[in-house]
Structures are given as C-alpha cells and as structure tokens.
C-alpha cells in the first residue's frame, strides 16, 4: 500500500513538472507586465494588454493564415501522393519496384543536414524563395508516410481490388474510393504527423522566407523573440508563444489518443 502511495506521489509530481510551465506561460501572458517576474500562481489582475501589444507589433494574424495554408496543403499532398506510391509498391508488379523500395529506406536514414543548404540553393535557382511553394514542395512526400501506406495496403485482401477492377474502376478510384475507407487509422496517423511537423517546422522557413507577409507562425515568433521588437517585454513574448502553441494544443485535446499513437508508431518505425 505504501508503495502505491509513493508511486502516485511521484507520478503527480512528474505531471506537475510537465503541466505547470504551460500553466505559468498562459497566466503570465495575462498578467500585468510588472508582476511577471515574481509570478507563481495568480496575478493580482488579468488583462489582455500583452495580446493587444503583440497584435499591434507583429502581423501574427497573417502568420497564422500562412501556417494554416502551408500545413493544410502539405498534409493533403502527403496523403495523396504517399498513398499512390504506397499502393503501387504494395499491390502492383512492375520492374524497379524493389529498387524504389530500397531508395525509400535509404532516404529515411539520410541526415537532413546534407540536403539543407543545397535545397536552399535549388529554391533560389527555381525562383521559389519567398513563395508558399518553397514551404510546401520539399515536404509534399515523405518516406515514412509511403511505408505506412504500403503496409496498410498490404493488409487489404486482393479480392477487394479485383472485384473493383471487374466493375471497371480505374486504379485511382480504387485507391481513393474503394480502399481509403478501409485504412482510416493510417490516414489519420499520417495526417496528424504531417500537419504537426509542418506546423512546428522552423528551420526551413527561416531559410527560404524573408518576406514578412509570407512568414509562418513559428518563424515569426522566433524572429520576434530574438530580434529587438519585443523590447524585452516578457508578456508580449509569452503571448506570442501561447498563440503559437494553442492550435496544436486544441487539436491534441480532441485527438489525444491519435496523437500519442501516431508519434509512437513513427518512433518505432525508425
């Protein structure tokens, strides 16, 4: 019994360690600037001051829009293209299938540090610096998603595909209309991972976007907090961090189980 109490105590302390900083961040962003330095639980009063300051200093609304567009198109792209490739690898016979499979495995182990700068140069030469395309194209397909879809399609009985072919379905319709309803968990997993990775990506936007009106949220918040514009105003910085964290946290609130499963499966794959 004492052992159980000890374990619960440790687990509660641990969860406070993970939750309290976020609580502090939200409360501090709503506290008067002068109190943030000594704040532990509740300020003397709440105000939106830090938020109004932030909205007047940086175009955070535009950045939110840019991040939404980028993450949404990237996610749709990853699901569409990776499922097509995964289907071909799982259910079709063609020369070079093995080779493509090994190339995909190989790209998964290739560190991004090798392609980072050359990819920037490609963007410069294609004239794509400061465009949405630069934010989206490099992430439109990924090896992990292809392997997930390949695995999902391999579990589908061939009879289902044959029946659809006899009915005269094209392969594209087979993938998206006949098979997609059968692999919803995989679509959700790939969707959550793509959206979250795109939403949180910051190094690549820092490299390819210079025009403020095209910046994504993490990039905008980063440049704001390292640059001079926050003028050491803690509350404003924290408000920006809250606005950046909120959409993913809300999504996490609704789809918590899927988030955990998706991330765990991506860990186990590698």
């Amino acid at each position: 019994m004492t052992k159980k109490i000890l374990i619960y105590t440790l687990l509660i302390i641990a969860s406070l360690t993970f939750l309290y900083p976020f609580y502090w961040m939200v409360v501090a962003s709503l506290a008067p600037e002068s109190e943030i330095g000594s704040l532990t639980f509740l300020p003397s009063s709440f105000s939106w001051h830090s938020y109004t300051q932030m909205f007047s200093k940086i175009p955070i609304g535009k950045a939110f829009f840019n991040s939404m567009i980028t993450a949404t198109i990237t996610t749709i792209g990853v699901i569409t293209f990776s499922s097509m490739v995964g289907y071909a690898l799982a259910k079709m016979e063609f020369r070079g299938r093995k080779a493509i499979f090994y190339i995909i495995i190989f790209t998964m182990t290739l560190p991004f540090q090798i392609t980072l700068i050359p990819n920037y140069i490609t963007m410069v030469k294609l004239g794509l610096v400061d465009t949405y395309a630069a934010l989206i194209l490099p992430f439109m397909l990924n090896a992990f998603a292809i392997l997930m879809f390949r695995q999902a399609f391999m579990t589908i009985p061939q009879a289902l595909i044959d029946a659809a072919r006899i009915d005269g379905c094209s392969e594209i319709r087979i993938i998206f209309q006949v098979l997609f309803p059968n692999i919803i968990p995989t679509i959700v997993t790939v969707g959550i991972l793509s959206f979250m990775n795109s939403w949180n990506e910051v190094l690549w936007p820092l490299i390819v976007i210079r025009d403020e009106s095209l910046m994504t949220m993490p990039q905008m918040v980063t440049l704001f907090s390292v640059g001079g514009r926050s003028e050491a105003q803690l509350g404003v910085k924290l408000a920006a961090a809250v606005v950046l964290a909120l959409p993913i946290m809300i999504a996490y609130g609704f789809f918590q189980k899927y988030f955990i499963q998706s991330m765990a499966s991506s860990g186990i794959k590698e």
């Binding site: 560190p111 991004f112 490609t122 979250m196 955990i260 860990g267 186990i268």
Partner: protein, 285 residues
Amino acid sequence: MKKKWLPYLLVSPYIIHFIVFVAFPVLFSLVLTFHEWNIISPMKFKGFSNYIKMFNDRMFWKSITNTFMFLIIHIPLQIVVSLALAEFLNQNIKLKGFFRAAFFLPVIVSGVVVTILWQQLFGFDSGLFNRMLVSVGLSKVGWLTDPNIAMGSIAIMATWKNVGLYVILFLVGLQTVPTHYYEAASIEGASHWQKFRKITLPMINPTIFMVVILSTIGGFSLFIEPYIMTGGGPLSSTMSSVLYIYKQAFQYFHMGYSVTLGFFFAMLILGVVVIQKKYIEQGDD
C-alpha cells in the same frame, strides 16, 4: 498485361521528389565542397581548400564537442527518467491516461514555444528556478549565462520536451515482457529491484537502444534552442553544429564551405548511428 505504365505514373511523384530534393542535392553538395560560392557570383574551383579549412576550423570542432556534451547529459537522463515513469505507469495505476497525456504535452508543442518558456524559467534574476533556489537559501545559478552550465541546461530542457514520447515507447516495450517471468521470480523470493535488473532490463534492451538512436539523431539536429536562447553563447558553449552551418551559409554566405560542413557532419551522424546499430546487433546475441 494492360496499362504497363500505370505503376510508373503512380510512383512518378516520388521519383521526381527524390531527384529534386535528395539525389541532386547530395551530388551537387559533393561538387560544391570543392568550390567557393556565394550563389550570386560564379563558382570558383578551390580543390580541397574547404576541407583543409574545416579541419583547422576550431569553432566547427567546438560545435561538435558541444553536441557530444549535449548527448552525454541528454541520453542517460532521457533513459532514466522515461524508463522510471514508464515503470510506474505499468503498475496497474488509475488515471493512467491522464498521466500519459500530461507527460506527452511538451512533445506535440513547437520547440519554439518550449524554448521561449524555458528561457524565462532559466532567467537569472526572475526565473522560476533561481527564485526557488533563493527561497531555500541557495545562491543563484547562471543557467544560460555560465559557459560551463548552459549546454547542460539546454540538455535538461530537451529531455523535458521528449520524455513523454519515450515513456510511450518504453510502455510498449514493458508490455512485451511475459508476466509469468515476474510470477516465477516472485515465487523464488526476488525483490522488486532484482526483478527489474534481471528480467525487465534485459527484455527491453531493444527499446533502450531505439531511444539511444532517436535521441542521438535529435541531438545532432539541435538548432532552434540555442538560436533563440543564447545565439550559441556564452563563449560559444552552446554553438551547435547545425547552428554553425546555418551561420556560415546565411550570415557569411560561404555556401561552398557551409555545404562542406553539412556533408561532413551528415557522414559523422551516419557513422555514429551505424556504430550504435552494430553494437545493438551484438548486444542482441
């Protein structure tokens, strides 16, 4: 066979993507390592001068040492904390879902948010940690201002951010251990610690190595944390290799040199991961 071209059509987006964003950049970077270039003016062939410069570049080697310093603190801490929490959660606990969700929250949030938040916690005068130290009568610590401590502080923060993910991976690992092993050990009169040492640890070895490899790759990617918190300082003690490569390219516009560093660094990462994997395979026998 009808429509022989169809599978090729389906895989063509991947082929194009692979050529443009993987194959070409890798080959092109190999060419670039022998050139000097700032993108605007024509490339200049420089032979091995980039490589010679790299081997004499003390800042680059310092960034690699810094990265290894980070890993030496981060990896053991990550394993001990996540394994302990997973072991607790695996004990028939109520509210398991709540605890798991709480631990996992930092994993899904952007590194930018976590860094801004911890920058305040680490603050010298009004940061939460120093206020706690002062309140129990200890002296303040220069979490981000002391060159001997700053990288350790970042390693602690990175551990906090990722623990939730590794708790889940360890939980999956722990559930693969057959319960009758423990029952048999209990009959023999083994203590909890003995069971953990003799049964649990050997059984979840594969998970431990997976965590080592994932944290290693994560550690080698360290960028946004020092970029926001310290800019690589104090005294370059938190200059990570990715940050240094970024600075070479976008502060000094040494594209050829920056690509050389990236190329070498990627080979180093591959080397470390291959050695770790070899070690795992030997450990499995």
